[in-house]
């Protein structure tokens, strides 16, 4: 129950009970009796549902110091990324201008290593400059955050939409629809996430190259959003399906049906609004997974590539040429940012789950 998000982190730990009908049933409601009370408070009034959901989460988060802190950190990081152009303008640098003059970068002992005045934070370069090309590290960190977070949030959105619609459809229609969608979910969960994403990203990029999506720095972002989004929906879909299985027998669904509402209308107006709780919980947990995945792929050299910055690309730059061995600073800058971000999102995800998933928060 207190299990980490699906496809945990970079090695993407498989979920117990994920790819088959194993009896552990971690977190996922497996039967009607268990799941029914969960949907209780949400069941009555669909129109106020969305507000009360966030309000419930907020009430809970406000009471926990860790949750509140992680929410603040998340907000700060998102602002940092959104304001990247502004912040780097204030600092007087941009992420792409390189400066390899011998006043900035060493020319003798370790060619390319920033000289003392440019290595660490200073008034001119808030986080120093990059080895090799002498670009401003602060500007790259901020713009890189923009790239990393955009990829993570958009791919999460893709997964959440796919997972919610497909999972709800499987649970609501049952029968053949359910059998087909469930088998597809099993298949998606069987593939080792990182390996598949890693090997398909270059392939997708070669496909996108001649389309409007594949222009310049847009290409790696678009391909990562598509790939991560497309391969990340199955776990959420499984959870949503489990919830819908019990929801579809409830009175309000029956009532809607007796009024002559169409299946699609019931699905989108009655059923899906009532699973927004789990969607919010597992959606929040997908964000750090996708941040890590972007970092992993860019680190491996198949995601975001130089000159476009991202946190993974910056890790890649620190490792290539062993710059991080010359000075740990180049690892510490993107590494700390990445850890703090993933940690804050994970803790926030835990808090949201505790707030909206009473079954999981018994301990």
């Amino acid at each position: 129950m207190n299990r980490a998000p699906p496809l945990t982190q970079l090695q993407s730990t498989a979920e117990p009970g994920a790819a088959s009908s194993s009896p552990a049933g971690n977190g996922a409601p497996s039967g009607r009796s268990k799941a029914a009370p969960k949907a209780g408070p949400a069941g009555e009034a669909a129109p106020v549902e969305a507000r009360s959901l966030l309000a419930t989460a907020w009430l809970r988060i406000r009471r926990s110091r860790i949750a509140l802190l992680s929410l603040c950190v998340v907000v700060a990081i998102v602002l940092f990324a959104i304001l990247a152009p502004f912040l780097s303008a204030v600092s007087g640098n941009d992420p792409f201008t390189s400066n390899t003059s011998p006043e900035v970068l060493d020319d003798f002992e370790t060619p390319g290593l920033p000289l003392p005045g440019y290595m660490y934070p200073s008034a001119g370069h808030w986080l120093g400059v990059e080895p090799g090309l002498g670009r401003d590290l602060f500007a790259r960190l901020a713009h890189g955050g923009q790239v990393s977070l955009t990829i993570a949030l958009l791919s999460t959105a893709v997964s959440v939409v796919l997972g919610t619609v497909l999972g709800a459809a499987a649970g609501y229609f049952g029968g053949k629809t359910d059998a087909i969608i469930s088998r597809i979910m099993d298949l998606f969960l069987a593939f080792p996430h990182l390996l598949l994403v890693l090997s398909l990203t270059p392939i997708l990029q070669s496909r996108l190259r001649d389309t409007p999506l594949g222009q310049g720095s847009f290409l790696p972002m678009a391909s990562l959003v598509i790939i991560l989004g497309f391969f990340g929906w199955a776990y959420l879909a499984r959870i949503v399906r489990g919830q819908v299985l019990s929801l579809r027998e409830r009175e309000f669904v029956e009532a809607a049906r007796s009024f002559g509402a169409s299946h699609l209308s019931i699905l989108f107006r009655q059923v899906i609004p009532n699973v927004m709780g789990v969607v919010l919980v597992y959606g929040t947990m997908l964000i750090p997974t996708n941040i890590s995945a972007e970092a992993a792929l860019s680190f491996l050299g198949v995601g975001v590539k130089d000159p476009t910055p991202s946190w993974g690309q910056m890790l890649n730059a620190a490792q290539s040429g062993n710059w991080y061995l010359s000075d740990p600073w180049f690892l510490a800058v993107p590494g700390t940012m990445l850890i703090v971000t993933v940690l804050a999102f994970n803790l926030l995800g835990d808090a949201v789950r505790d707030a909206l998933d009473p079954k999981a928060s018994r301990h």
């Binding site: 982190q9 970079l10 090695q11 390996l195 890693l198 090997s199 496909r207 991080y324």
Partner: protein, 333 residues
């Protein structure tokens, strides 16, 4: 039980076929042009056309798939007419880069991946289950809070950061450990088991930090739940020693979800720990897959992806069967 085994094995085979078909489709139809990838640099239109024939891409898609699958049972010929070469059984195609049999490349990488998996597995199971149990036994105490906090942080540590950090500290700064060499593939090699342990210790730790965090969480939650069950109270009421209650009754019942996770993670890790192998330059399956993905060597990436999915699926079924053997209720579902 036999019916259950048959049913699960049947669905296993279907799933494996489906996985191979989907992987094949993704990798054959996915790329804009596999032939020009195969043909490499200095490509002329004629050479692309030759490559198309050599790859069998002039054939209908289903024929290509059938050819590929036939290679799994018998050797077959690969290459342009006149320049064919034998691809030995089990044939998974030939590398675009080196024209080597893909199965040879995989065979060479597998021992490294196994070495990585075994040690990491032992390390994270012992630490994860041990700490999780400790936290559950001392629920609410400072120890518990510390362990839970550490697990929250551990699950948020990306492998590239931890891996590079470990290399920096233990190899580069403290000189405590050697940099990983690919001369040691197994503990049975001439250098002996101790050199093997030292060689893989850092990758093991990097993996274990991440994995044990989730094991701590799952073990703790399940043990706390189990300790609250009636049969534990009964055992206590009977006057059994606390140690017996904890280990013989509690752990036995509460550990099952951990076994599931373990089975799945073994399957996953056998497909190669992509990031860890890359960081520590261990030439296992994950390392090979990254190289192949970057250079566009489709047969290699495709085969490794397929193999990794196979491992996950088989591990999954093994776990299910183990469960059914332990718990008769499972068979009836």
């Amino acid at each position: 039980m036999i019916r259950f085994i048959l049913r699960r094995s049947g669905s296993l085979i279907l799933l494996l076929i489906a996985v191979s078909f989907i992987t094949f489709t993704l990798f054959q139809l996915g790329p804009a042009d596999p032939a020009s990838a195969a043909c490499g640099q200095e490509c002329t239109p004629e050479r692309v056309a030759e490559a198309r024939v050599a790859l069998g891409m002039d054939q209908p898609f289903l024929v290509q798939y059938a050819d590929y699958m036939r290679g799994l049972v018998a050797p077959r010929m690969i290459g342009a007419p006149g320049a064919e070469s034998v691809c030995q059984w089990p044939c998974l195609g030939k590398s675009f880069q080196t024209n080597e049999d893909v199965s040879d490349i995989i065979g060479r990488s597998l021992p490294y991946t196994l070495s990585m998996a075994i040690g990491a597995l032992v390390l994270w199971t012992v630490s994860g289950v041990g700490l999780g149990l400790l936290a559950a036994l001392r629920k609410g105490s400072a120890t518990d809070k510390f362990i839970v906090g550490a697990a929250s942080v551990g699950v948020s540590l990306p492998i590239p950061v931890t891996g590079l950090f470990l290399l920096l500290v233990f190899v580069n700064q403290l000189h405590l450990l050697p940099f990983t060499t690919n001369e040691i593939a197994s503990p049975l090699g001439p250098q002996g088991p101790w050199a093997w342990v030292l060689n893989y210790l850092l990758p093991w730790i990097a993996l274990a930090v991440l994995f044990s965090a989730s094991y701590i969480r799952v073990t703790r939650t399940n043990m706390i739940e189990t300790f609250g069950e009636d049969f534990i109270r009964t055992a206590r009421a009977k006057g059994l020693a606390p140690r017996t209650v904890t280990f013989k009754h509690g752990v036995r019942a509460g550990i099952t979800p951990v076994v599931t996770m373990l089975g799945m993670d073994i399957g996953l890790l056998l497909g190669g720990a992509v990031l860890t192998e890359q960081i520590f330059s261990v030439p296992g399956l994950g390392f090979t897959a990254v190289r192949a993905a970057i250079s566009g060597d489709l047969p290699v990436t495709m085969a490794i992806t397929m193999l990794a999915a196979f491992f996950v699926i088989v591990a999954n079924v093994v776990v299910d069967l183990a469960y059914a053997a332990i718990d008769p209720r499972v068979r009836l579902q």
